[in-house]
Symmetry: C2
Subunit: 212 residues, 2 copies
Amino acid sequence: MSSGRTRIQQKNREVILEAGLEAFSEAGFRGTTLDRIAKGAGLSKPNLLYYFPSKEAIHRELLSRQLDLWLAPLRTLDPDGDPLEELLGYVHRKLALSRDHPRESRLFANEVLQGAPHILDTLQQDLRALVEDAAGVIRGWIAAGRLAPIDPVHLIFSVWSLTQHYADFDVQVRAVLGDADPFPGAERHLDAVFRRLLMPDPEKACAEAAVG
Amino acid sequence: MSSGRTRIQQKNREVILEAGLEAFSEAGFRGTTLDRIAKGAGLSKPNLLYYFPSKEAIHRELLSRQLDLWLAPLRTLDPDGDPLEELLGYVHRKLALSRDHPRESRLFANEVLQGAPHILDTLQQDLRALVEDAAGVIRGWIAAGRLAPIDPVHLIFSVWSLTQHYADFDVQVRAVLGDADPFPGAERHLDAVFRRLLMPDPEKACAEAAVG
DNA sequence: TCCTGATTTGACCAATCGGTTAAAGACACG
DNA sequence: CGTGTCTTTAACCGATTGGTCAAATCAGGA
């Protein structure tokens, strides 16, 4: 009565969302069937619809539940920290999300790729505002000469694309690399890329380049 | 009799493939219905199946027909050319593909994102071999000191992800940037990124950074 | 114990899925 | 004209889709 939800309800809703994540991330919204989610959750189809009113409700709940986690790394940029450290840390955390939560990445990738019909509002409002905040921080660093001059918004796009690539196109990456774990190599590569890209001090950049 | 295909057949097959590209790139294979393709092509559903034996045949034809075009930019790397020019040219051509053929990009993105069930063989053989060739060229440049040291395969992944991002996640990019055309900014950004990333000569890099 | 509400399910629904069939319509060619 | 081929479609098929409903089952408190 206090929480409004039984233990059974909480547990089954979790099981359903887990199965839904597995399915939606693999096949997208339209490509996913209630039967498949039900089977994955070990429940009957009518029982699914006892816990969620519709397929779309499961999808919506998944998207909104993961969105905060998904954008969290970008919120942590500290204007008073060291710019290079902050941004490399961001890249690192974002790549870790791709490694540890590839299904969540593919869930969003499917959604956006197909026109973001369920989260377009959120993108245009929350995401845009969040990016604008982060871009402001980056602009401040550049203005203070603490960071190489670069378009902050496109820089953020670059972090997204470079890191999420290893989750969203995992199959392709492994097909090209062989089946070895791509992430150690990806981590080294992205660290080197962004270090070289963002280094504000020409002399340090030169030294690094000369050594490397 | 000579070509084995009537004018009507050729024209209708084209119309069907155009409608199929529109549909598959938007909704993926499972999310696309024959009825939608038929409607888009202005034909009846049985008439579709007079020209193609199945939905999968349309999809397969689209994938194989676009694959060469899609990978062409990577084949043009000239070992005897200027490394920086060659790679910047590759980035430029790849970004132009994202701008001028976003549906083709999303067609592949959907396919790979959902596990590449129809082209996994091609990825593991042709694509892998192609990347290995290109990586060899890049390694040669690095060994000759004509290019900054960098992992060639991950560099290619980076080109793919950075350029295709503007086609595949177009909706998200526009949501963040507003609805202005993202490509001029993307072009400037990627040019600057790869210039800085690949510049082999420390002094030139320093000069560029100091000026920029 | 019984009772009440929470949970589960078999049977079912209209709509849509990919695909088939047979027959009609359009066309070229003699 | 006629004829044989190419093209198109109405009608239909079994399977699957998202979703409903009433009845059965379960769990827990008095």
